[in-house]
Subunit: 344 residues, 2 copies
């Protein structure tokens, strides 16, 4: 089983190290035969070979069983001709990873970590299903110095396939999809809403409602418990999933999975590269470890090992081990070691 | 002094009634000579004359000293050829109202209303300066059934003029502008960032930082106290200002002002038309009354009367009068009457 590792930039390498060590431990113990292969990606790849997504990295990803990504980006490359983010968008697009799954919840017993009042946060458990290869992210752009444009495009087919993912996920969870758009203004949102309605007809057991993105942003703070699955387009998904991520206490806790029609899936923490704390061994590896658990379950079909890793991770948090983002002084490496201790 | 009143749809008319009654009381008492002129707008205007922004309404607005708007929209017109929202966008555009000011804060003593923990919410006081006549809202659209597109456009000039508004406001407040964009992906955001940097050079006393919109959505929940003025483009401003609005307890509490280079300004609560509770006399008129206070201060240059109205409004809230959105059973009309009682 070949797992491609893209540590990337900033805190990417250090959180990746902890996650991979967890996977390695499980592989050893259960004789799963994981082989890890590290490749340059993002800003690190720009520095190494002038390209955020080198051909060799892309080729390795295509032939992988699963891909693990740390984080990309940083001010160092702000003025670069090709930015690290272009590598990430290029990889998502090249592998056809159109569906991005971003779960967030408030862990029982950890309500104190949330910026929300306990009664608002309690029980919140939301999955954002974000379209990942369309919309404003991939439309034509122009920048003539004095005027710039970005084009947002969606086709029926693009909306259909992501809607199916959301309805299927909802069927396995709370049975409810909230589709988020701005159909009172945007043409792409009107198409989005029409197509989502059509797809919904094929899932009579899943309830569907629609919300405008501004109202959704509000409801995610005021009443996150009302949501089960949020289905939305690329940019809205970027914003709402980040916003949602803090309800559990820190964006540092959350993992994500990206999938295409077939081919390898990609897993990454949803936090960024946090260049200001890179290399200090104070980043929170929980999001990376949660991503590793998703890799086990969704990427490799190993739900049992995934549950073990998730339990060990949750235990460490419940036991009060806290990295700096949660006001503690646990180290990134120390946190990872604690997870592995509980795994053993 | 001619004030054009556009009650609009849903709860628009009932909250407008309370706000206008407050203005009327002040006009009587201080002999300000306000004349109110009501005009059809939004869905109500579609029903009355087939057009959400009738020519006569637009003409009246052009000749006004200030414009007050209730709310527009509702499912009733979801399938209409021209939607109520088109009237709002048309009016903003026709009057050149490019700057939308949306203040939100946690009122001292009312921290219990916020979904955020008291220590997170305490002292938060943010002004969103939203560009209102550009971006995805006003670019070309196509919808050919199977594929739809929306174009996002910004010019240097459009960014410059809204940036000046933000820096001037920051100079009168906390002295800090946070410009929000998605410059790691969008061409319009790269232009936005360049131009904002250029304008910032003219305001050496105001600090500037930049945030990506996803990070900003997160920080507005986790640490709203870190912001003073948020400067952002049309769609991001729509999302972030709605999200921000709940930190004080309810979107129903907040007013907004929209201005152009010259000409009359427009004032409206930032909540929507809430068709589900329209006509029940349970809507919160506080946002409309706060908008009326902004009308007095910014639209008519009457800061003293504005302060009186704001104080009366705050007093009613501090005294514990709560409409349904805040868990109480005060009526819309009753809340308005209480504000006027304290004004007398
Ligand atoms: C780094 C950036 C391009 C990316 C995105 O906007 O998709 C990130 O914010 C994310 O959410 O994965
Ligand atoms: C009604 C709608 C078109 C409008 C907008 O998106 O601008 C509203 O949400 C607002 O924020 O004023």
């Amino acid at each position: 089983t070949k797992i491609i590792i893209l540590p990337g930039d900033g805190i990417g390498p250090e959180v990746t190290r902890e996650a991979v060590a967890c996977l390695d431990l499980l592989s050893d113990h259960f004789d799963l035969g994981f082989r890890f292969e590290e490749h340059p990606f993002g800003g690190a790849a720009i520095d190494a070979c002038g390209d955020p997504l080198p051909e060799s990295t892309l080729k390795a990803c295509r032939n992988a069983d699963a891909i693990f990504l740390g984080a990309v980006g940083g001010p160092k490359w702000d003025r670069a001709e090709k930015r690290p983010e272009a590598g990430l968008l290029g990889l998502r697009s090249a592998l056809g990873l159109f569906a991005n799954l971003r779960p967030a919840r408030v862990i029982e017993g950890l309500e104190d970590l949330s910026p929300l009042k306990a009664k608002v946060a309690a029980g919140a458990d939301v999955l954002v299903v974000r379209e990942l290869t369309g919309g404003l992210y991939f439309g034509a752009r122009t920048d003539e110095g004095e005027v710039a444009t970005d084009l947002c495009t969606y086709s029926r087919e693009e909306v259909e396939r992501i809607a199916h993912v959301a309805f299927r996920e909802a069927g396995r969870r709370g049975g409810k999809v909230t589709s988020v758009d701005k159909a009172n203004v945007l043409a792409t949102s009107k198409l989005w809403r029409r197509v989502v309605e059509d797809v919904a007809a094929q899932y009579p057991d899943v309830a569907l409602d629609h919300m405008y993105v501004d109202a959704a942003a509000m409801a995610l703070v005021a009443a996150p418990g009302r949501f089960d699955v949020i289905l939305t387009e690329n940019l809205f998904g970027d914003i709402l999933s980040d916003q949602l991520s803090v309800i559990g206490g820190s964006i540092g806790l959350l993992g994500s999975a990206s999938r295409g029609e077939d081919g390898p899936m990609m897993f990454e923490p949803i936090h960024g590269s946090a260049p200001d704390i890179a290399g200090l061994d104070i980043a929170n590896p929980a999001g990376a470890i949660a991503s590793a658990a998703m890799l086990l379950e969704l990427g490799l079909g190993l739900p049992e090992q995934a549950a073990m890793l998730n339990n060990a991770l949750e235990q460490v948090l419940v036991d009060g081990v806290r990295t700096a983002d949660l006001g503690g002084d646990a180290r990134c490496s120390g946190f990872g070691a604690q997870v592995r201790e509980r795994l053993e």
